[in-house]
Amino acid sequence: MKTGFFRWSSRLSLLFLMTSCGFNSSSLAPGSLNGRYNNEQVALSGNGKWLALVTDRSGTPQLSLYNLTEQRFVDLGEINIDGAIAESPSLSRTGRYLVYISSLEGRPDIVLYDRITKRGELLTQGYKGWIRRPQISPDGRYVVFETSRRGQWNIEVLDRGPYIELDVLDGSPVTPPPQ
């Protein structure tokens, strides 16, 4: 009885998977990635495989990630938390690091989300000044952004340091960090 149930449910889930795959590939092709939705703040990963964007397909504008090869949206975990606005996304070379602006109670901060460890890191804790439009370098070490620190918009660069895991393409030679 139990195995029968499992067999039945696995068949059902297989069927569900198949239908949902078919549905996805037809409705989420790049042409209809758009549909009747508003897609803004698009940012490509270096390898051209991932697209970060703000889309209102779920009703409210949300920071989302789209796999251009498989033509589907992927889950970003808890990035879109209640009460905070996530916007201005940018991606590293293979899309490992996602950097964006998170505004909680109106104050914008830069957050770095590592899609491998699934952890977010606040990069601008205690930073004096207003922040706009962050962008991460392809290897993931530097983040450039607009700062109001001098009372006008200037450019600022954050260095995450030589000990971070760089975002490199598979098969690239790796040099150890300086001692």
């Binding site: 803004e40 490509l44 051209g48 392809p138 070490r141 983040v143 200037n154 450019i155 660069v157």
Partner: protein
């Protein structure tokens, strides 16, 4: 009693120790009052980094134009033939090798996306036949993929092209 030299050494050591724990840290960028470098009294916006380059927009010369900074020699790089005298440039992006720069130019209320090749010093309008507003180009590392937004049917749509073809 600690000698003066020793004190300096200890201070240096202390600064090293605190410096090590200090990531992420702010990188010191040149500031030039006459607008000859990356930052100055004018407005600098839309930065994109692909080390050693930072491409950005500034209105330091009266028109909003594209500039390129090289962090290796801490100087600006000339971009002959990239900027217009009569257009507002915005949203530049750069391929990882620094060869291609894509940007938006707005002239007489019409926006277009241009691709500039630093090797040939040529710029090309990628959206010449498009009767719609365009914005936010983003280019892949090798320059073979470019996405941008088009105002169509009352909302912003994503368009993906190969700008090198």
């Amino acid at each position: 009693m600690i000698k003066r030299n020793n004190l300096c050494f200890y201070l240096f050591l202390a600064s090293l120790v605190t410096g090590c724990g200090g990531y992420p840290s702010i990188v010191s960028l040149p500031y030039d009052n006459r607008g000859g470098n990356i930052n100055g009294p004018a407005t600098e916006t839309f930065p994109k980094i692909a080390p050693p380059y930072i491409v950005f927009i500034s209105d330091r010369n009266g028109t909003q134009s594209v500039y390129l900074y090289n962090s290796q020699n801490r100087r600006l790089v000339d971009l002959p033939g990239l900027n217009f005298l009569d257009a507002i440039a915005s949203s530049p992006c750069i391929s990882e090798d620094g060869r291609y720069i894509a940007f938006v130019a707005n002239r007489n209320g019409r926006s277009s996306i241009y691709l500039y090749d630093r090797q040939t010093q040529q710029r090309r309008n990628l959206t010449e036949n498009l009767e719609a507003e365009v914005r936010n180009p983003s280019i892949s590392s090798d320059g073979s993929k470019l996405v941008y937004e088009v105002a169509r049917n009352g909302h912003w749509e994503v368009t993906i092209i190969n700008p090198l073809q």
